[in-house]
């Protein structure tokens, strides 16, 4: 069958997101007022015409399972194909890992049966933790046209050192794969890979036989010389977030119109879980400026430079500045909140004040009452 199959990895990373990832894996962290991080990659796949998507899950996946459900919000609740959730139980029986997630290659080995049933000729592998709006259809077309064995999406925008970097020759072929080097050079990997189903199956089978588990080490680095791997350079907005400060900065980026235009392209909409919240109400007596505001909110206090998720209540006399308030946060009358990231259902009581710093935002854990 022509076309492409999608596989999304959703596992725990060693991130420094603190309490934001206490009860969820990275892909289900809320982002941008209305989304979970995974919505972006799922939407990328759906917008490229992908009908079958497998999500490999490991770790605290309850929030992710709840979010994805049957996949109907992404039109992936299908009689044939659609969304398949591939949870962690395969690891229990797996020999060496002791139930731990060691690498993506091993994770693929654990769902070998599933891989055998892929109906499409091509497969795209992607992480759930990247916020970008990329036309995967174009990437596939370029992959086919180039005759490469594998196409790896990467960016020339500056990133952090502790990551995978590709060196490309003038034809776009990857000639070197470096990881965690002091002075990164070349293109940072965005961990989106396209290859044929046959190549993927062969590589996973070989790796299992040899007890190789790491995608970067055992595929990207080991096969760099033998496989024709090419870089696809994608320099639009792409956020991979590992620290609270990153999360805060990349969220605030959304207040810039150019970034919003890159991420919210009407031709490639970002689908999120649907809800029936009514319109947001904004009171006459308040200042509400330079903010991104979802629906179902009741804004009776002032809001400035903030990202406000669905169902947030800001009472009279309250002041919210430079904040990210997740779903159903309540800022009671007279409270002042600045440079704070509030997780779901947080309540800031009357006349309290809480302040972080632009370079050190404070995170308030889910359901806290301040």
């Amino acid at each position: 069958m022509k076309g492409m199959h999608g596989i999304i990895f959703s596992y725990e990373k060693r991130t420094e997101l603190g309490t934001l990832t206490d009860q969820r894996i990275y892909g289900s962290v809320p982002y941008g007022g209305d989304y979970r991080v995974v919505d972006f990659m799922l939407s990328n796949m759906v917008n490229a015409g992908i009908t079958d998507v497998g999500v490999i899950m490991h770790g605290k996946c309850q929030s992710m399972l709840d979010h994805l459900g049957t996949g109907k919000h992404w039109d992936l609740s299908r009689k044939y194909g659609g969304l398949k959730l591939l949870p962690a139980f395969a690891y229990q029986e797996n020999r060496e890992s002791g139930g731990q997630f060691r690498g993506k290659l091993e994770a693929l080995g654990c769902v070998m049966d599933y891989l055998h049933h892929i109906r499409q000729d091509y497969v795209v592998l992607a992480d759930s933790d990247i916020v970008t709006n990329i036309p995967l259809k174009d990437v596939l077309e370029s992959h086919i046209a180039s005759g490469a064995d594998m196409t790896c999406v990467c960016t020339s925008r500056p990133g952090r050192p502790a990551d995978t970097y590709f060196t490309l020759d003038i034809t776009g072929r990857i000639v070197e794969v470096a990881y965690d080097v002091n002075t990164p050079a070349g293109y940072q990997s965005l961990n989106i890979f396209i290859m044929s189903r046959e190549l993927l199956l062969g590589m996973v089978q070989n790796a299992m036989a040899q007890n190789n588990y790491g995608w970067r080490r055992h595929i990207l680095q080991d096969k760099c010389g033998t496989l024709n791997m090419r870089g696809y350079v994608w320099d639009s907005f792409a956020a991979r977030i590992d620290t609270v400060q990153d999360y805060y900065n990349r969220s605030m980026d959304l207040l810039r119109p150019d970034i919003r235009a890159e991420l919210f392209n009407p031709q490639r909409p970002v689908y999120a879980k649907e809800n029936d919240a009514a319109s947001t109400y904004i009171d006459p007596a308040v200042e509400c400026v330079n903010s991104l505001i979802s629906d179902g909110c009741d804004i009776q206090g002032s809001v400035r430079n903030s990202i406000i998720f669905r169902g947030v209540k800001v009472e009279k006399g309250a002041c919210v500045e430079n904040c990210i308030l997740f779903k159903d946060t309540v800022v009671k009358a007279g409270a002042t909140v600045r440079n704070v990231i509030a997780d779901k259902n947080v309540v800031f009581s009357e006349n309290t004040s809480m302040m972080g710093h632009e370079h050190y935002p404070v995170v308030v854990a889910k359901n806290s009452v301040i």
Binding site: A272, D276, S279, P284, E287, V289
Partner: protein
């Protein structure tokens, strides 16, 4: 498989009193309250009341409505058995006729109702804004052993002569029905929401169809005939917000009611959620110089100017220096920099050019008698700098102004 109660939703109304606003669509498909369409209210009430089978009777410009209702998934009416069904008039062996009246529309779909063999049928209207538990009404209908239960609400006595008025006895049995009486005997107005025992209604529909003099209408024919025949007819008293949004003024009023907490219309209350088909779009961006007050704002808007006492629907934008007051702006409308919109209904995907002026506040009217809401039909373009006077209606072909 049998259903206890199914609903038939009359959505064929031409909406001629909404003039240009209905454009190419049927009235129930007209947007309401920023995120919804009028038909979301009865459909959500059905879903919330446990009615999982709904026939939607359409005939006038049905395309947009059909597309909107789709498989019923937004109202959880996508069911293995039952669910939502669009019922246009169809051709039978003896020929094809349009729906002649509300009762005839149900008559033509007796076959559809019989598929579910229901004990009761709720007849609903597609142009009312209200939240109502039909299950409570059904319980009353069963308790009383009625043939027909009609939902009524108290209206101010001085307005009673504008409604269909039900006179009741001490136990709320309906004893008399009068359409727009000059001297009302009661202030209980019919809301146009009925529950019938299906066997009874079926008989009356067939008899009504055989009567050549009948208008085949529930209010004019079926209800009075049943009353004359001494059938048990009961009034169900409804308390809460209800508005017929069949006219431009009432549609504008009902939207404004969203902004007034004591109007009784609270869409943010999620104990009885109104569900709808959502456009996929990001949250709204409110700009650095924006001044938003007492307004309801849906998603996907970009608001850079001043917005006061208005309802802004999904995906609208208001440019820098633009002002919008006391207006209802429907999905996708664009109000460019410096434009002024006052006391207006701006239809879907309209574009109001820079520095154009649409409508005016009543206090600025030269002749208060001639003042009214300005209305732009869907996809109307107002050129930069152009003025649209109050009480004007424009449609997308422009020029075709129609005084109300």
């Amino acid at each position: 498989m049998k259903k206890e109660c199914i609903a038939m939703l009359l959505a064929g109304g031409q909406g001629s009193r909404l003039y240009v606003l209905t454009g190419d669509m049927a009235k129930p498909a007209v947007p309401f309250g920023g995120k919804f369409r009028i038909i979301d209210f009865p459909l959500s009430n059905c879903a919330n009341s446990g009615i999982d089978t709904v026939g939607v009777l359409t005939q006038y410009r049905p395309l947009e409505l059909n597309q909107y209702v789709g498989n019923g998934q937004p109202w959880e009416l996508d069911r293995r058995h039952g669910g939502v069904h669009i019922l246009p008039p169809y051709q039978s062996a003896t020929g094809a006729v349009w729906y002649k009246g509300t009762a005839n529309a149900i008559y033509q779909n007796i076959g559809f109702v019989d598929l579910y063999d229901p004990d009761y049928v709720a007849i609903l209207s597609g142009d009312h804004i209200y939240k109502m538990d039909y299950d409570r009404m059904l319980r009353l209908h069963k308790e009383k052993g009625a043939a027909c239960t009609i939902s009524v609400m108290e209206v101010p006595w001085e307005e009673a002569s504008r409604f269909g008025i039900m006179a009741v006895d001490g136990e709320d049995n309906i004893v008399e029905f009068a359409e727009k009486p000059k001297e009302p005997k009661s202030n209980l107005a019919s809301m146009g929401i009925y529950i019938f025992s299906w066997k009874k209604l079926r008989e009356y529909l067939i008899a009504d169809e055989a009567n050549e003099n009948s208008d085949n209408d529930f209010g004019k024919n079926i209800i009075p005939t049943m009353l004359n025949d001494g059938e048990k007819m009961v009034a169900y008293r409804f308390e809460g917000y209800w508005k017929d949004v069949g006219t431009l003024d009432s549609l504008w009023d009902a939207n404004m009611d969203m902004l007034t907490p004591d109007s009784g219309l609270n869409l943010l209350d999620d104990s009885w959620p109104i569900r709808g088909r959502n456009e996929v779009c990001p949250p709204t961006y409110v700009g650095e110089k924006a001044d938003i007050g007492n307004s309801a704002v849906a998603r996907g808007c970009t608001l850079l100017g001043e917005v006061k006492n208005s309802v802004l629907s999904t995906g609208t934008s208001v440019g820098e220096g633009a002002t919008v007051t006391y207006s209802v702006v429907m999905p996708g409308a664009v109000i460019e920099d410096g434009a002024q919109v006052h006391y207006a209904i701006v239809g879907e995907n309209c574009r109001i050019g820079a520095n154009a002026v649409v409508g005016a506040p009543p206090e600025q009217a030269e002749d208060p008698e001639q003042w009214g809401i300005a209305v732009l039909g869907p996809r109307t373009c107002v050129a930069a700098g152009e003025k649209v006077a109050p009480k004007t209606m424009l449609d997308k072909h422009h020029g075709e102004e129609a005084a109300r």
